[in-house]
């Protein structure tokens, strides 16, 4: 198999973010998507700590210590940006105002269930942040993740075994091997990463991939 690298994964997802979209990017890999949105599209990035219109990282020495995103990284503001408090930031999410949220995941099930906030390890404190609010109110939930876990076990499952973030909420999954749409019948293939064959991808996927 020929898995995409992280930049290529983010670039593939970025193709599907339309001009004028309001987008929340989760911590980690999803954050990279902003670098790859095609020229000519104006996308407003939302961060739940109170900014719509997140811009690129500032130059070294230019950081404002109080201007950060949800990953706690220093950011800038683009023209047209607006600042607000937490309640309004979450009204934007919960109230169906954002267009797309891009999230990482531990597991995604073929019925759209998402598990991305807690494992089954008891000593590890759970931390939910804003994930449950996003999936409750954002109409398009894109998951961006490696197709399998580090130990090779599948992450695209018939049913999630980890505690859910939300039930039936994922609309698309972008992995290093393929892009899947969640339909009432299950995962349907949108496209394969270049140089991969469906049988191989299916072999590392617990859930059935429809075509």
């Amino acid at each position: 198999m020929k898995p995409l690298d992280e930049n290529a994964m983010a670039a593939r997802l970025a193709q599907d973010i339309p001009d004028g979209a309001y987008v929340n990017l989760g911590i980690g890999l999803p954050n990279k998507v902003a670098h790859f949105v095609p020229e000519g599209r104006e996308v407003m990035y939302h961060t739940e700590n109170g900014l719509l219109g997140v811009g690129p990282a500032p130059a070294t020495g230019e950081e404002d210590p109080e201007l950060i995103d949800a990953s706690k990284k220093f950011v800038t503001m683009v023209p047209g940006a607006a600042l607000f408090d937490h309640p309004l930031a979450f009204s934007m999410m919960r109230g169906n105002h954002l267009s797309i949220a891009v999230l990482g995941a531990y597991q995604v099930a073929e019925n759209g269930d998402l598990a991305n906030w807690a494992t089954l390890e008891q000593s590890f404190p759970p931390a939910v942040g804003g994930a449950m609010d996003l999936v409750a109110g954002v109409p398009q939930i894109f998951v961006l993740m490696r197709h399998t876990a580090r130990d090779g076990s599948p992450k695209l499952l018939k049913r999630c075994s980890y505690p859910l973030t939300g039930a039936g909420v994922v609309t698309r999954v972008y992995t290093d091997l393929c892009v899947l749409e969640v339909t009432p019948e299950g995962f349907r293939l949108v496209d394969l990463a270049p140089g991969n064959r469906l049988e191989e991808v299916q072999s590392v996927t617990e859930a059935r991939i429809l075509t």
Binding site: D19, G40, M44, L83, P87, R94
Partner: protein, 222 residues
């Protein structure tokens, strides 16, 4: 590119359909979207539900819609302002439905709709006629009324300044219901005194552009 600017009031209100529920910002004459209301009268939509704090006064704005029999129902807190003759005439003749909502509950129900909440418990109105038939609950000795969210098809908003992204800033007490209504309608239309291609200062924005679908300049103050 994001550019929510629309050239004229008629185009801005064109999407409004018969039977629509329309939020109208403002309190008294402060923050009333007078230009959009004029355009709505010309547009001709009927069987409207108007959600606003007051029910109009004089011959303009909401009053003119009542006079021309475009309104089926009013949801408001205080329909009885000096000069609300057209409301009173239609009400006495039994020609419109009236839903009275305490002012803070009105604001909060609109907020709940914009924030994606399924309703809330408020102490306001507990033990009164306005709680009749509603679900109530006592918690720690305080009585509460359950109130559902109040969304709308359209919101007509009046602001002082706006930019092409739809960001809005208000003038003094013209803020009132405008920012919360902008969040609660499927389609929010803002008239602004000054419309600019240059962005507002991010710190000064009261209504972030995400809540605004179209924005049109109307320089006349009430």
């Amino acid at each position: 590119m994001i550019d929510k600017r629309i050239g004229d009031l008629a185009t801005a209100v064109a999407p409004i359909f018969d039977g629509a529920a329309i939020m109208v910002g403002g309190f008294g004459n402060s923050g009333i979207p007078a230009g959009l209301l004029n355009a709505l009268l010309d547009h001709g939509a009927r069987e409207l539900t108007i959600i606003s704090n007051n029910a109009g006064a004089g011959e303009d704005g909401i009053s003119s819609l009542l006079r021309e029999k475009r309104v089926r129902k009013v949801i408001c807190s205080y329909p009885r302002s000096p000069g609300s003759i057209w409301f009173e005439r239609r009400y006495e003749a039994g020609e419109i439905e009236l839903e009275i909502v305490p002012q803070g509950t009105l604001a909060e129900r609109i907020r709940a709709a914009g924030a994606g909440l399924g309703g809330f418990l408020t102490p306001t109105g507990y033990g009164t006629l306005l709680a009749a038939g509603k679900e109530t609950r006592e918690i720690d000795g305080v009585g509460y009324v359950f109130e559902p969210p109040l969304p709308a098809d359209f919101a007509l908003i009046r602001a002082e300044a706006g930019d092409r992204w739809g960001n809005l800033r208000y003038h003094v007490t013209a803020r009132n219901f405008n920012p919360v209504m902008a969040t609660a309608a499927r389609h929010s239309i803002a008239e602004v005194r000054h419309l600019s291609g240059e962005p507002l200062e991010p710190d000064s924005v009261i209504t972030p552009g995400i809540f605004v679908d179209s924005i049109v300049e109307y320089g006349i103050r009430p």
